[in-house]
């Protein structure tokens, strides 16, 4: 493999792997709303009225 081929291989793989890592990082780092947010009726205010 020549130098240009090596550069292209590294650049292409870096771009793809970088994109995959970024995407999965975002997917796993953002918690799904239904697990973290509650609608008003879901919240028990202990209000007896």
């Amino acid at each position: 493999m020549n130098a240009t081929g090596l550069v292209l291989m590294i650049a292409s793989n870096a771009a793809i792997i970088g994109l995959v890592v970024y995407c999965f990082y975002r997917v796993f780092s953002i918690r799904e709303p239904e697990k973290t947010e509650h609608a008003p009726l879901d919240i028990d205010t202990r209000d007896r009225d």
């Binding site: 240009t4 081929g5 291989m9 292409s12 995959v20 995407c23 999965f24 975002r26």
Partner: protein, 724 residues
């Protein structure tokens, strides 16, 4: 009109990662691991990645976002099938019929894809059980096995091979049943659960095989057949073969094949038949350079016979080759290879071969090589050697001008690089920027991205319709696309071509690139590669298992749109819709399996439905998103619940660039391929019947769509938003 309470709870994905892996699983298939490396290496290698990435950015990713957004919008109105979704997106009586393409495409592709999948399963099981052990390292044994298994030389062989059915039929039925078992279990318990297990397994297996390939040691260049065949066959047979060769002539007949060439071919056929029958005295593990490239040319046979007749003194040729390999630097060797590849291409395109000048440095190196060759030949003893000397001098003279048909293959021998993985990767990545001036390469890059991401199938449309109204589609779509690209570029690009070069050398690698046969690479070449690899049997199990998993995650996705259509359009329960679709697809798959000669039905379905119709559906989708829905509303739709935003620049891209790019590629692709396919329809009755079958089936689906639209109205689907 039915009330809201009458409607069944709509199916939905259980997890976000589940839908991402399901869509990625749908996209990742055999094309990632077999079609991509062959196409890239044959189309400028590293330079191919420039149009490839541009196509990904301008075509692949935008269409993915379009399909995800449109599918989720359709699902909000309670419709999951492509005709239903289209009727929501574009309030026009024709829209649902255009959407019928989103049923036709996946169902018809399934009919042949499931058969190819079963080949992968058969190979995985074959390797695991040791059934391929007798084939040793000989490529012809694998070629013969594959031809026989698939019946590629005789129609109906799969159903009747000397009164018995071929084992592949059982693998086919098993694969078929597995697909329907997954789909029967439903969206979350079936598809999502399966993909959440299969996709990580698939990627793990691909990483294992890629690491194995990248850590392979350099391989020796094997001896040509005339020096190694003697050790592979019984002594009496070798004697008989030698006697036959002595009395045969080297002059080519009217078909360009000499009696010597035919004798050698027959001997190899006999050898592989004997291996298949496990006859004693035949050694499958003798490493030999089969007659490929120069060795398969008339000059190659002349050299071989002269070597045999001189009792081994003709080793001068091998020494000359060795000298060439030591003397030429890698840049010159690559120059020779480029010349070889161009000339192979010229041969195909022109009736008469057209010569092409070597670069000056290549010529200078060859001059010194020729001098050395003459010195070596001067020491060869008498007897039959004058023939060898005369022929090789003729060869040398021929090399001094533009290479001609019979002599050009010598360039392969001279340009043989050391068989290392690093040099093998050169075939995938060393750029040939000149090809960028060739429109065909741009077309291939766009086609590869388009087919690889499974856009235009109607599958993403269907899968996205099971999302909730505020589920993200932008990040999910990008993640699924990125996963597909990782499998294609980072894993697929590192395995097939480098491994082929390391074990089978320049001639075979160039031959693979020239034919660009996905099946040839996958089922003939790579098994030979694995046979040469230490513990190759188990890496082959991993490889074909991953191909099988890649296939099955794709094929189950092809069934879901039609299941959704039958359920929502006719009120069928899961079991009834699975049985109905099973019968329809089985009926369509039987001709694919039966008309196996040259895979004629498979190739016809792949062209007209698996390629042509895809372009049409994708174009319609992009136009609906950008022009019917409107680019502002389309982006608002895509951004609802989005966890990342689509860059602003994609608004004009999706509205103008993507449709224009798509139409250009479609027209150019049709211009290039359609005349040949139309000629086939006219000349081949099986092709004609297949195209007629596609037409009848499409008509049937249009009728069903008409009937289903009444049911949607009755249920109130499509009128207003439903579900969570």
């Amino acid at each position: 009109m039915a009330s809201q309470a009458d409607r069944p709870t709509p199916e939905q994905w259980a997890t976000k990662i589940g839908v991402i892996l399901a869509v990625a699983g749908s996209a990742v298939g055999l094309g990632n691991f077999l079609r991509f490396p062959g196409t890239a290496a044959a189309s400028g290698a590293g330079a191919f990645m420039i149009p490839y990435f541009l196509s990904l950015l301008l075509l692949g990713i935008p269409i993915c976002w379009v399909e995800w957004a449109l599918g989720r919008r359709g699902g909000r109105f309670g419709l999951n099938s492509s005709p239903g979704i289209f009727s929501v997106l574009w309030k026009h009586p024709l829209s649902k019929y255009l959407g019928t393409l989103g049923l036709l495409i996946p169902v018809v592709i399934y009919m042949y894809y499931v058969y190819i999948e079963s080949w992968c399963l058969a190979y995985a099981v074959g390797y695991a059980s040791g059934a391929f052990e007798p084939f040793g390292t000989n490529p012809y044994a694998y070629q013969q096995h594959f031809a026989r298994m698939t019946g590629s030389e005789t129609n109906g062989l799969v159903f009747d091979d000397n009164g018995k059915v071929q084992a592949i039929l059982f693998f086919f039925l098993g694969t078929f049943a597995t697909n329907f078992l997954v789909i029967y279990r439903g969206l979350t318990r079936g598809i999502e659960t399966f993909c959440k297990v299969a996709m990580p397994l698939l990627i793990l297996a691909a990483i294992v095989v890629a690491v194995r390939v990248l850590t392979l040691p350099a391989q020796p260049i094997p001896e040509p057949w005339q020096r190694s065949l003697e050790a592979a066959i019984p002594a009496p047979e070798w004697e008989r073969f030698r006697n036959d060769l002595d009395s045969a002539t080297l002059e080519p007949d009217e078909r360009g094949r000499s009696p010597v060439q035919r004798l050698v071919e027959d001997e190899f056929r006999r050898y592989f038949d004997a291996l298949n029958r496990h006859e004693p005295g035949y050694d499958a593990d003798v490493r030999m350079a089969r007659p490929t490239g120069f060795l398969d040319s008339p000059d190659g046979y002349r050299v071989a016979v002269a070597e045999l007749q001189s009792g081994g003194a003709g080793r001068a040729y091998r020494e000359w080759i060795q000298f060439g390999q030591d003397d030429l630097d890698d840049d010159v060797k690559r120059e020779l290879q480029k010349l070889e590849r161009r000339q192979l291409k010229n041969d195909k395109q022109l009736a008469q071969a057209r010569g092409e000048d070597l670069r000056a440095d290549a010529l200078a190196s060859r001059d010194s090589l020729e001098t050395r060759r003459r010195e070596l030949l001067a020491g060869v003893p008498g007897g039959p050697m004058p023939l060898l000397t005369a022929e090789l001098i003729r060869l040398g003279v021929a090399l001094d001008r533009a290479l001609e048909v019979q002599q050009r293959s010598a360039a392969i021998e001279l340009s043989e690089l050391q068989r290392t993985v690093f040099n093998g990767l050169g075939y995938m990545w060393n750029p040939d920027f000149e090809v960028l001036a060739n429109s065909d390469v741009w077309l291939k890059a766009a086609g590869q991205v388009f087919f690889s991401l499974s856009v235009g199938f109607g599958i993403i449309l269907n899968y996205a319709s099971y999302l909730r109204r505020k589920d993200d589609v932008v990040l999910s779509g990008l993640t699924a696309s990125a996963t597909n690209e990782f499998c294609e570029v980072s894993l697929g690009g590192l395995v097939a071509i480098p491994a082929t070069f390391v074990f089978l050398g320049t001639a075979t690698t160039l031959s693979v690139l020239d034919t660009q046969s996905t099946f040839g690479l996958g089922f003939n070449t790579l098994p030979t590669v694995f046979a040469n690899m230490p513990a190759g049997r188990w890496f082959a199990v991993a490889w074909f298992s991953l191909l099988f998993l890649a296939g099955i995650t794709s094929s189950v996705s092809m069934l879901q749109p039609a299941i959704a259509f039958l359920e929502e359009g006719f009120g069928l329960r899961r079991r009834a819709s699975v049985v109905g679709l099973g019968l329809i697809t089985l009926l369509g798959a039987i001709p694919v399996v039966y008309f196996s000669k040259n895979s004629v039905v498979l190739a016809t379905l792949d062209f007209w439905v698996g390629s042509f119709a895809l372009f049409i559906l994708a174009t319609i989708e992009v136009l609906i998103f950008g022009w019917v829905l409107g680019i502002e509303e389309g982006f608002d739709e895509a951004h609802r619940g989005a966890q990342i935003r689509i860059p602003w620049i994609y608004r004009p891209i999706v509205k103008y660039v993507t449709p224009a790019f798509l139409l250009t590629v479609f027209v150019a692709w049709s211009w290039q391929n359609a005349p040949e396919e139309i000629a086939k329809v006219r000349s081949d009755r099986v092709v004609l019947a297949t195209v007629a079958g596609i037409g009848i089936f499409f008509g049937f689906l249009l009728l069903l769509t008409r009937l289903a639209s009444g049911e949607w109205k009755r249920k109130g689907l499509g009128d207003r938003e439903v579900g969570p």
